[in-house]
Each structure stands twice: as C-alpha cells, then as structure tokens.
Subunit: 416 residues, 4 copies
C-alpha cells in the first residue's frame, strides 16, 4: 500500500489557496493539520519554496523580482501522536521526488526545476560581491538525471532531498531565536543583503489562521531561512532517500513541517537558491525515542544517518581555499567561511578556462553534487576548505593535462 | 625497482643531526638537497613533525612542554628538473607509511603514533576554550589499523597522508605572506594562543646553512603552520595513497618539501595535533604541466584528485552545528568556523553518553576518519556544518535507539 | 515534462485485456505498438511477470499452482526510428519503480511484491533438490526499503531493475535459438524441471495478433525465460536507475520489449522467482550507434554501464563455495555453477544458526542485494565462487564472534 | 612495534635453501616452524609461487617451460596456540605488500611482478583453447599502482592479496581430497591440461623433512592448486588489507600456511597465473572462536569479511556471457563456467577494437581489478555471468560512442 497522503497539494494553485494551506513561519501556535502515529508511513506533498514565482523560460527577471516574504512555503504541521518535549522524533525519508500529481505545467517540479543567482539587493548569495545580478538556469529532469540548456556539457544524478524540515519551536525557544537574531541585525540594520531577517507580518501564512491570531504569528513567528535547533532550513544535501533524522521535540505532538524540495544541490547551496528547486512529494516513516534528547545529549541540533543510495562518484577534482580575503588580501583568523569562498572562486576560475561564464560555473557549483569539506581549522592563521567536484558529471574531461583545457562555446545562463 | 631514496632519515637522530638535514621554515633561498626528473619515482623519508619530542607513555607532560619553534621538521627541498615559475608540478602520492628503516624505538612512526591536545598556552586547538589542558592518546599500528589504549572500543583503518607538502615561495610571495600575517598579528599581539606566528630565528633550521645565511632565513622565513598558496600545511586527509596534487611553481626547480606524516586524521584536525602523528616515508612520482598555472587559472592554491584507496565507510552518524556561539548565545553571521565547532561539540556531548571523557572524544574526532562538511552557507544568519562519524569504527553500536546509549567505563586519555 | 507513456497498463486488468496488449514470446513478426525517436525519453508500464497470479497472503498455494506458460508478460515492442540491423541501441534507464497509477489493490507492485520458491515440479530453482516445495515471502515497500512479515529482522534498500528487456531477434537468430535449445531438451526430454522450454502455443500472446498469425508465433516464438543474444531475461540486478545498456539490433526498428520488474534481487536470483516481483514503470532514454555491433565487436550479448545510485553497502560477510557436489562428494571440474550453489548453501546453513528456516534464508538470498562473484576458475579442479551478504541489512549483528550466534524465533515463510 | 617476523625469507635464495624452508604440499604431518598466540600480530614473508622461475624480460620462454611441480611454495606452517579441531581461526590481514627486504634483484616482488598465460601443454588457463601458447606481461610497481610495458595505456591500483592461505587438513580430510580428485582424474587420465593433479613426489618440499618422511608427504600430500575446505588457493582478490577470514581448524594448532601473493588480480584469475605474481610479506593478526565451526555451521569453507580499503572504482563497462559454447553453438544447461568464459571472450573482442592483441586483453583481464559476477543461474537453460571492467584504469575512454573506438598501436605482450 502506498503511504497515506497527509498533506495534499494541488500544484495548479498557490499554497494559500489549497484546501488545507501550509505555513511560512515557525511558531508553536500554528495548528497541526494532520496527525500520524509512530510506526506509520505517510506522504507529504510540497510546493516549490517561492510558491511558484519562477518560470521555465530564458529570463532571470522573475528571480530578480521574486518576493521573498512569502518563502518558504511549508507543508504541515504534522502532529506525531505521543510526542512530548524532550523526545527525539525519528524520521525516515523513505522516498522523495518531483511532482507526481499534475505532472505537466508551469510549477517547478513538473519535469523541470531551476537554480537561481539572487541579486545582491534581493537576497544575495555566497558570492554576491562577485555576482551581484540575477541569473538563472533551468534544469530538465530525465528520471534521476538533470541537464540544463543553460549549462550544456553536464549531466548528473540528483541527490534529491528536502532543503527544510523541522519540528515546531517552543515559545521559549522562539523567543531566544528572536532575541539573538535581532541582536545580530542591530549590528548593521541597513546592510544589503541583511544580516538576518526579523519576523515579518507581510506575506505571512499560518494555515487557516486569520485576523489577530495570524497577525500574532506574523509579529512573532521566526522566518524560515536559517537552520536552527529544530532543524529548519538545513540544506544538507545528504538528507536523501533512505536517510534517518533524529529531531529534537520541543512541543507536544512535535509538529513536523517542511518543504523546499531540491532535485539536487551542492554542499553550501552557494547561489542562495543554489539547489535545483522544485515542488514534489516526500514519504516519511516516523518513530519516537522517549526522552531521547537527554539520553543522547542531543539538545541543540538534530543528528542524522545518511541514506544508502546517494549517487556514487569516485573521481573528483578538488579545489582548495584558505582564509585570506580575495579583495583586500587581508588574512583572516581561521575563517572557514572565507576559506570555502576562496575554494568556490578557485573552482569558478578553473571552469572559465573551458568556456563557461562565471555565472554558469557558479550556478553549476550550487546545483551539482559537489562536496564541501572543512579540511583544516587549527593551522593558524589559515582555515583550509576544499571543494570536491565530481569529474564524471562533465561530458568532457576536466582534469589538468599537458595540452591545457579545451575551450568551447558553452552557451550562457538566463539573465535579465 | 623500489624508488630511489632522495631524502634519507636516520630515525635515531634529530633532523638537525642527519647527514643531509631538512628545514623548518619556508624560504626560496634554502638550497635544494636533491634533484629529480619529471617522470621519476622517488622516496622521501620524514621525521615526525616535532622532531621526536613526544613519547610512547601515559603522561601528556611532553605535549604540554613541547617546543613548537622547531616545527615542522621538513624533508627537502627537492629540485624538479626543468620546473619554472608558472608551471604546475604534478605530484603523485604513490605510497606512504610509517617508518620502514629503524622499525623499533622511541620515534613516533616506529609502530606507534600519537594524538595530542595542545594546551591553550602552548598552541591551543579548535576547542581550546573547552579543553585548555594538555592530553594525549597513543595509537598502536596494526597494519592499516590503529587502536589506542587511551581510547578503547575503537579500531579504524587510517587514511594515511602527509599533513604538509609544498613548493618554495618566491621572494615576492614570501613578502606578501609576511605582510598579511603581521597585519593580522597586530590586531591582538598578545593573544593566547596567538593569531599567527611571525618569522622566528630561534630554532630555525635550513639544511646546511649557517651563520648570516641561516640568520636571514630565520628573520624572513615563513613559519610552516598554515596552508598557503604553495600548498603547505594543508592537513587534508585525502592526500592519501594514489592521490595526484597539482602544485603551483614559484621558483626555478619548484623546490618540493614537506613532512608531518599522519597515520590518520579527521577533517579539521581539530585538536591542533589532531592527527595520528608519525615519521615515515612517502613515495612520489612527479611531472610538469608547462605554463599550467595560466592554462588552468590555478594561481592561489593547489588542486588535487583524491586517490582510489581511501578507507570505505558507508554508515555515518552525522552531527550538525550552526553559527551561534555556545558560550554567549550570540548569533554570528554565516560563520562556518563556529558552525563546525558546534558540530564537534555536539559529537563530543553525544560520545560522553557512552562513557568517554570529553578529552577522549575530542582526541578521537581529531584522529579518526571523520568527514567535516560545509552544508549551508547562504541561509542567513546561520552557517550550517556537519560532521560525519563512521559508525563502523566503534566496537559497539553508537546509533540512537529506544533503550538509550550503553554507558561503560572507557578508561582515560593520557594527562599531565 | 514527464516522459510520454508509450506503453500504458491498467493494472486492474490482465495483460490480455489491455487496450494495447503486450506479448509473451520473442518473435520478429510481433508488430510494434509504439514508435520513438533517438534522443527521446519515454515511459513503459509493466505487469508483474505472471500477469497477477500471486496474491498478498500467507499461503504459497498460488506459487505452487502458477501457470508458467503465460510468462513473461512483456510490454512492447517499441520501434526505435532509424534503427537497423547491426546498430547498437543505447538504452538509458532513467527511472524505474512500482506501480504509480492504480496504487492500491491486488497486483504485485501496488505497495508490495513477493519472492517465491517454485516447486520442483513447477519451474524449480537453483537449489530445488534441497527445497522442492513451494514457499513465498511477501515484501512491503516503504519507499526505497523493503521488509517482509515472512522474514523478520531484515530491511534493505532495493536495487530496482527490470529482469527482462531486449530487442527482437531476426528470423535467423530465432531459428538458431530453437535449434540449440531443442538439441539440449533432446538430451533428457522428460527431466523435471526441464532442461529448457520449447515454443509453446498454449497461452501465447502476441499483441493483437489472432488466428493463424498468432498460432505461428506460438509455434515458432522463443520462450522468454533465458537471456540470449538480444538481451532478454538477464536478471542482472545492476540494470538499475541510471544504467546504460547497449543492445544489439537484429531487426529494423530494433523492437524493444520487456518487463519482469524487480524491486530488488540478489545475484543469481536463486529461488527462480527470487527477486521481489512487481509491476510498475520504467523510464527510458534511447539513442543509436550506427553500425555499432561491428565497430565495437558486440555481437553475442549486450554490454552495459551500471548506474551511479545503487545502494551503497560496505560491510559484507562472504561465503565461499567450490565445485564438489554436496550430495555425492563428487569433484566436478571447474564448475562455477556448483561452486556458487555451495556458497549459497553455506550461507543458508549459517543463517539457520540465527533462527531462520532454510526456506527463509533461501528466499532472502534471492531477494536481498547480495553479490555473487566468480572468484577462481583456473585452479583445477575446483572453481571457487563467493557470495557477499551485506551485514547492514540485518537488524542484528550476523558477524561471527566468540559468543556465537543469537538464536531467536524468526517466524516462518508462507507455505502451502 | 612492527610485527614479529615468524617466517623469514632471503629472497636471493630458493625456498629450499632458506634457513627455515617452507613446503609445497598440504599434509597434517608437516611440522610447524613457528608458534603464535591468539591476539598476536606477526609477519610472514613469502616467495613468489614458482620460487623464482620467471624473469623480468621480454620473452615468455620461462613461462612456457616453468616447472609446476615445485609450486606453490608456501610459508609455514604456523601453529596457533590453543587451536583445536572445530575452532574457527580468525585471521586479520593487517597489511601486505611486495618484498621489503632485498628490494632490488631478479625475484618477482622486487619492484615488479608478472602475469603469464600458461601454455595449454603446461597448465593451461581459462581460455586455453583460444590462447594455447605462452605469453607474459611484466608489471612495474609504482607504489599502489601498476603499469606494464607489455600492455601500455593502463594504470591501476592493485588490490593486493594472498592467493593462497589455509589451515592444514586432518588425515581424514586429506584422504577425502585424494579420493575425490583421483576419481575425477580417472574420468580422463590423459587429458591436456589435466582434470586435476594427484600427489606428486617429484619436487616435494616439506620443511626440513627428508628421507622416508618426505617421501610419504610426496605420496600423500595434496597439491596446492585448488581451493578446498581448508581455504587453500582461493585466489579471491578481496582477501586484501583489512580483511578478516574465518578458517576452519582441522588439526591441533591449526597450522596456517600460505603464499602466492598477488599485487593485483581480476576475478577468476583467468590466465591461470593471471594475477600479478610476486613475493613479499603479509602481516596477520589471529584469534580463535572456540567450537566456532559448530556454532556457526562453517564446515566446508572459510567465510570472510572484505577489508575497507579496496580500490574504489565506480564506472564500469560490463560484459555479459551466457552458457552457449562458442565453438559448437551447443547450449549448455545453467553452466556458469561457460557463461563467464563467454563474458571474458566478449570483453577481449571489444578490447581488440582499440588495438590490443587478444593476448594483451587476456592478460589484462587476469591482472586488473575486474569483477566477475554470477548474474542469473535459474533462467533455463542459460546461466548468465557478467564481467565488470573499470573504465578508470584506461588512459583513454573505452566506453562506446557514435564515433567508434580509437584504434592505436598498443605494442605487444612478451611471447616465445
């Protein structure tokens, strides 16, 4: 028997117009929309994270103009019977994939997905100082494989996963999130892009709540962008088929919600919406470890066991970066963020030698199954990170040789 | 025919007392001690990085009191015929292992190695605020496997690699290193541990140079601790048997040097001397890509292709961390260093539930083949990193279950 | 866009009653039912191989009494435009899975599948002399995982694949098949089970052909049981998602047909219907290498490239067998069949020590992702084969230890 | 501490002339030459299997004329203290490699090894009817990699292993071996090559035994060619670094012996001496499971757990064969030996399209890390086997494409 669909989506409609709408803020008071028992398999359907603002076309204007207040559009909350604060919620990702219901149409997940470079003034990304403008690549799905007319010469098996799932925070935990993130924003309130996103009543959705209750969610509810203690927007590409995640439970019933499905993504999801974004479905199995947070000392973040069917690549070209700022030449102290940025930039410079534009290379590193590794974080003053690029995803050999790289016309990404 | 030994070590003696001594600073004017041709296989023997200061015993006093000015003791420089600035030096790691010559004795690599937590006042480490005192674990080698009387219950295959190899910097590049690192030190000159290490005449070794020439190397030569443009102390565990590294060449002859062999190491080498440290040998093959830096845009860091015989683990328990400071609750902005630190701390708390001390867990994460991943670096404000711990290295099942962890007496690390 | 469904199945009906029926014999004159172009993605839906004779229940009576003349029920033939004899047909398996249309009901593939031990008098199996009676295990699908109420204590990710696909034979090739198989049958025409199966008019289906045309197919058409030059019933578990197969083309249009989908299978498919049998769908991409058979010397069998997403197991317990008959003690000369049989029997004896019945162990080895290896075939007189059993599929540790195996009540297989 | 060398070889001398000679027959009465305790690590040094008859040159005359009665030259027997009949001897392969003592010279293992096609009249091989004459390839070792001047264009990491290790048979077991093998020989006593090899006094070596005792070993002792209940000449390439083998114990002290080290080998070792043959060393750890044969039902063959550091290849081109004789067109009944032979022949025909001779291809398939799989053994009448050839071992792309294979001059194997 297929798993029961406990959260159903009509992909021809906005999340707001579903019979049972989801939500786009974290808050303990958003009512559960379904209930499942430990031991049960069930299916959750999801809208693409922007609720369908991005189209299958050759212009990045939609990325440039995307309204981010509506994101992420989450499915849930799902109540797990018997879950109590302090438990660990055991979640098996039994299967996941693009939209299975309305399989053709304009919604990402209907046979296609996209990767976007968000403009610096509208979200930005990991390399936004180098790539401040909006770009886009459309990916066509061929079963497990993706190809893009905007990045020819590559084809890879997606390591499909949900960017975002988590349990509901308690009121106390939510208050702590708001405290610490407001304090960060206060350091530079006018920064573009911002340091963090405060609660935002504009665009809020909280299931069927309306009026003052909805307004309260808008005023208090945490934005869904970052990962936090409840899971949230991990964007860990290895939450794929067969993985098992142990989420802390902070409220009765656990209240599992999520979405932001990715056909594929590289470690870091560096273009901000760097994955191949799509709507689709995810099949879960759930169980509980009573008092598991205390038993195992799991208090601040979930733990997980990756699944056994990740795409198997074995030959990588690996790029290294260290913590010296590429603009100023300033040496940072053990800064893994800068080190990984340098590794990404090194990979982009390399790929440009084969004829890709910087934007194509950037989009590719966001979407393809690259691995980002913390290599050294003790050798003062330089953190050292490395980026593993699977050579098998290219239709030509990208490894260095005596002849030098084969330059070719490799088309261009969608731009504004 | 076995590869010619172009750098020979008598492991009963200090590096200073070898017939052909190595060096412990980076400087273009340290004379080459041997010359090889492209296409040639050759062997380099290495002393353990501290030149034998640490003993196979149950006290960490030697770690506490280790003199760091003498490190790292490097073998080389080896001149590669025909190498010119702008080339890429192709280096194959054909084999690597512990000491094959004097196989018994007090030198690390003679059937054993060690992992050390360096004290905060003497080097520190990634978690030095949590673990400020010196600790040590001795590891016994059983062929490809390591076990430790100080961390019972684990046994793993080492992913043996050199922590440190690189080409010599040009004078210009060396000057730039000194500039940027001095500028960093100036930000907090009295910090303990320091932000970076300036040139240090005390303890300098530069082959057979003496007098004013040696003094100049001491005054100008870069310390060997960090990774830089020439490679250097990468501490990338995947530079293992079968790997191919492409190093930028900055001086005529390339001048390849290195050492700091590791029987095993986890990503990050988090205890500072977190690997299983040893002396030993490394067999290289070399070739050149003329003008390769320009052809491939490889200017600021080496690239590499990992080898095909890394230990193959498939089941991991993965810990997640994000960029909120664990002491203050301060939310940092996309700080992957803090995120990985939190992931490490989460893993340590978990392992303590099975009976390990925090120090044992810390030592284990430094030495065992854990993977550190950059998971998300765009989801403001939280960077998200993950730490993959292979469950197969434990003699008991560490995965969460309904019964809870099996607490046991797991001994203790060597302390002062 | 999802791939076009070029062969559609209503899983509530027999293959005979579909709008466009398939076929159950190999013959060049069975008309194509659809046509695709090189470069096109398309979907083929399939009935389970016996056309639904086996039920989701706890009796093996249906296996005992299954009518084998109707098998295998194949979907197709699909014409590939431009394909000519001598070409290689490049077939990408883009995706594959259980039934996506009528997802609940009595057809295998509707959330469940089965493994059967066929009785010696009705098909037999690899170990039919040891297990002459009909048994069955029902498997429940949980996304990528399968579990069975008849074999508790195991859970594994299926390496889903089609047991049987191939191109149509030419008349000449068909005649050769009939010649050589009849010659074999003649050696022992009354053997039970038979040495081979001759053409059989009873039960024949050939699309919409009727009357004398259908009779001719029945008289001449090759049975679908074995693998042959055209591909056919390979039962190679590694024809999974992402695999690419190069089939020889023997007739204009190639005429690709197949079915017999397996949720999972061990190498050898040793219980005869040893896979987890199901109906479902398979998504293909196709292309042509003109004159490829000659160019590459591929004349007698397809070649293939396994896909990148096979389940990743790394710890195996491996059983060895050699070519000495287990009943008589007779030493056979380099007989890999006997060697693998002994390896299977050794594995079964081992698993019985944990409480499984021989039939449960036999069913498990047929269905789980075990690997069967040819280890030595030159060391006269003994061929040596080995069977790799992934230890991760068991909920308990099956590796030998000093205490001995944990015997437990492990239920029982479905029997008659 | 390195493991104690309990069996030492001077590689400049024949096994007969060692201070402590080994043996070349299986017999319970060959005296143990060393004794080890459970829990102990120890090293065994080995001569190449023919005791140095094959040279590093470009003629295969030495292979053609090799005296096979002296093989295999085994190191041992090693007594394990406390081992009793019925126990399982747990053997860890901690490390293994070429000769570490006299590293240059004429003995295989001194930086080089060889693969031989034995002539039909002198041993033969799996494809001896196709390749009846002696050929040879010399392989040069480059750390973990091998290359051959006789098979240019390939380079691969060896999966180094012992071809042959085992425990001593009891008198009863030895008698049974002699019974069943003599019965096989009697079926065709004059066959070339023979069906099996009877005891042979000529050339016998049994440690220091001489006179009537040695004669008795010669008359009764089993030849070392096949794998049997005690282990023996498994030629399982996966007995590599890190593997654990559980051997049945048939005599007090177990009496472990072996040798025939291989730098690399493909499944099946198809050219008879198809591995890359060498002398060298192997480091063992041992332990006992008392009464383990009965506890685990391990009576007729060892079981083993492969190690975690096998070379990691992920892209294979796979060839299929079925059980139809390639000469006569006769259809055999479920004959996996013939099926694998056909798969081998298909691979050879394929490689010839790139310019290799048949002999080069045959030698390569024997030596490189190919996998031989039992794919189907129930689909009457055809067994189906497959041969997985890693594409990464070639310096050019061997996968089929529209242009066809790149033919080139690829030199030639050593011949007579």
């Amino acid at each position: 028997m297929p798993p029961e669909v406990v959260f159903k989506i009509d992909q021809t409609k906005s999340m707001r117009d579903q019979d049972v709408p989801g939500h786009n803020r974290w808050h303990p008071d958003i009512p559960a929309v379904a209930s499942v028992k430990p031991g049960q398999d069930f299916r959750v359907e999801c809208r693409e994270w922007t609720d369908g603002q991005i189209g299958n076309n050759d212009s990045a204007a939609d990325v440039r103009d995307a309204k981010l207040n509506v994101a992420h559009m989450l499915s849930g909350p799902i109540e797990i019977e018997g879950a109590e604060p302090g438990d660990l919620l055991v979640v098996d990702i039994l299967d996941i994939g693009p939209i299975q219901t309305e399989t053709t149409g304009p919604a990402p997940g209907q046979g296609w997905g996209y990767t976007g470079i968000f403009a610096k003034h509208n979200g930005g990304g990991f390399l936004t100082d180098h790539f401040p403008d909006a770009y886009k690549a459309i990916w066509d799905f061929h079963g497990i494989y993706a190809t893009s007319r905007h990045i020819p010469g590559v084809r890879f098996a997606g390591i499909t996963h949900p960017g975002l799932f988590g349990t509901a925070p308690s009121h106390e935990l939510l208050a702590e999130w708001n405290r610490r993130e407001r304090a960060l924003i206060e350091k530079d309130p006018n920064r573009v892009p911002p340091l963090a996103l405060p609660p935002e009543p504009d665009g809020v959705l909280a299931g069927k709540l309306t009026g003052p209750e909805l307004e309260r969610i808008g005023r208090e509810g945490a934005r869904t962008v970052p990962a936090r203690e409840n899971g949230g927007n991990h964007d860990i590409k290895n939450f794929t088929r067969g993985a098992r995640v142990y989420y802390p439970v902070f409220v009765p019933g656990a209240k599992l919600s999520g979405g932001d499905l990715h056909f594929s993504q590289g470690d870091g999801e560096i273009t901000f919406c760097g994955a191949i974004e799509m709507g689709g479905f995810i099949d879960f199995g759930v169980d509980l470890i009573k008092d598991g947070m205390n038993k195992y000392g799991i208090t601040t973040n979930p733990v997980f066991i990756p699944g056994p069917v990740e795409p198997r690549y074995s030959t990588f070209l690996s790029f290294i970066g260290f913590s010296v700022d590429e603009h100023s030449g300033e040496n940072l102290y053990i800064d893994a963020t800068v080190a990984y940025r340098r590794a990404c930039l090194n990979a982009i410079e390399y790929l440009k030698k084969f004829g890709y534009s910087g934007e194509q290379a950037y989009l590719l590193l966001g979407a393809a199954p690259i691995e980002g590794r913390i290599s050294g974080v003790v050798d003062i003053p330089n953190a050292c990170c490395s980026l593993y690029l699977p050579v098998e995803i290219f239709e030509f050999d990208i490894r260095p040789n005596a002849q030098g790289p084969t330059m070719a016309n490799r088309g261009s990404a969608a731009r504004t």
